[in-house]
């Protein structure tokens, strides 16, 4: 009896999607330095200004956008770190949030910035 193999190997992204990813990837990498600089500035302000909430809110916006596309563009580590930073920032947002939550959030954002630094310094276009 002949066994018929109905399974199919995973299909690679087709050409149209691959071209789309390649085109977006370059522009995404080019945008990272500015995003890292803004995140850095926001975290300094969060540490020094009395109301950290508004700086965290803007940081959430930035890391959320990074988390939304980084993995699709091949930057898995950056995507994971951004996702974690977004989660940590979320726990530091409520007015009653404890100081340690804010410190942990800032640390998580720092990891994102470090990862961006590595990507931009190495000149890579995919992680």
């Amino acid at each position: 009896m002949t066994m018929v193999d109905h399974s199919h190997p995973p299909q690679p992204l087709n050409d149209a999607m691959a071209r789309s990813v390649a085109a977006v990837r370059g522009r995404f990498v080019a945008s990272l330095a500015d995003r890292a600089a803004e995140l850095d500035a926001l975290m300094v302000l969060a540490e020094t200004e009395p109301d950290a909430r508004r700086f965290f809110l803007r940081a959430v916006e930035i890391v959320h956008r990074i988390a939304g596309v980084a993995r699709t563009l091949g930057f898995s580590d950056l995507g994971d770190l951004a996702f974690e930073a977004e989660r940590r920032l979320g726990t530091a947002l409520p007015p009653a949030a404890v100081t340690t939550a804010a410190e942990t959030a800032i640390e998580a954002v720092d990891h994102v910035v470090s990862c961006i630094d590595q990507i931009t310094l190495s000149g890579q276009t995919a992680g």
Partner: protein, 324 residues
């Protein structure tokens, strides 16, 4: 299939465009915000068949936009897919409660997106067939003859009650739940007493109103809890709730019955039609059973609902006299 996709991030929009185009969906309009999307919907001369919405957007978020689109007559049944990196349960609950058909997590895969859209395409084709058949339905409705043209077993879609979702959306919602979320959930079936008899005396419009009023009473009675309700046919609704809800609380059931008593329909046939609900046992999955979230939908229906919801006035139900 004409699509409107909304995302505030231009990289995400570009990727979405590439993924959709690579799956063969190139009749596509992109918007950068909820307000821009609504503006496009007002101005377009060609209606859209389906929507893809990012949840987290500044200003109007995707959940509010979903509810606004769902509120337009033209798009009452149009498939809406939420695409988001948010995995917390309140976002998932909120998306489906607002009328989403499905929920796709970022980062998305082009192949997965294509597969989901093929399901959407089938629904769009069904919607078109339904629209083409509306004349026949209108004729049947206008006939207003009891007992005709109503599929007693069928999962009629209740479209006018918040937190009541279609069967496909409920299945998609459950499939988005993690094992932990499933374990933290419970479900219960509510069945209208004597529904099959009722369908012989009531017109299709009256039956729809009865189902809608019943769904509304269930949702309002469960108001303290996060829940979604779907109609599964045969006069039975299934509510999926967060565990430790108040669904077993007699006060909740009494509230639901009191709301039903106030909504007692008046049938053209003159047959009295008080609404009474039977409530089944609450299904709470074990940690092992939580591996199958769809059991939250199927298990309550398997156990016949036998507990009659308490009536505030404790009057002998008139339903038995009307339809026995």
């Amino acid at each position: 299939m004409r699509l409107l996709a909304v995302d505030d991030d231009h990289f995400a929009r570009d990727l979405l465009f590439g993924a959709l185009a690579s799956s063969g969906y190139d009749d596509l309009v992109m918007a950068a915000s909820g307000h821009e999307a609504l503006d496009i919907l007002v101005k377009t001369s060609r209606p859209f068949d389906a929507f893809l919405l990012d949840i987290r957007m500044p200003g109007m978020d995707g959940i509010e936009l979903c509810a606004r689109i769902r509120g337009m007559d033209q798009y009452r049944n149009a498939p809406i897919l939420m695409i988001t990196a948010m995995s917390e349960r309140h976002y998932i609950d909120g998306a489906f409660a607002a009328g989403a058909l499905d929920y796709i997590s970022k980062p998305f895969e082009a192949l997965e997106l294509g597969a989901r859209l093929r399901t959407v395409e089938r629904i769009v084709r069904q919607n078109h067939l339904v629209a083409q058949g509306n004349c026949e339905i209108d004729r049947l409705r206008s006939a207003r003859e009891p007992g005709m043209a109503f599929d007693v077993d069928g999962p009629v879609e209740i479209v006018d009650v918040p937190r009541v979702v279609g069967l496909v959306a409920m299945e998609n919602y459950l499939l988005r739940l993690t094992r932990w979320m499933t374990w933290q959930s419970e479900s219960v079936a509510f069945t209208i007493d004597g529904f099959d008899t009722m369908t012989r005396f009531a017109t299709p419009v009256e039956i729809y109103d009865i189902l809608s009023d019943t769904a509304d009473a269930i949702v309002r009675g469960l108001k303290r809890d996060n829940h979604l309700v779907t109609y599964v046919g045969n006069g039975t609704f299934v509510a999926v709730l967060h565990r430790k809800s108040s669904v077993s609380d007699p006060d909740t059931l009494m509230t639901i019955q009191a709301l039903l008593d106030m909504a007692e329909p008046s049938l053209d046939s003159g047959v009295p039609c008080p609404l009474n609900l039977r409530v089944g046992p609450v299904y709470r999955p074990s940690l092992i059973a939580a591996g199958n979230p769809l059991a939250l939908l199927t298990m309550p229906g398997k156990t016949r609902a036998t507990t009659r919801s308490p009536r505030a006035d404790a009057v002998q139900p008139k339903l038995v006299r009307g339809f026995a």
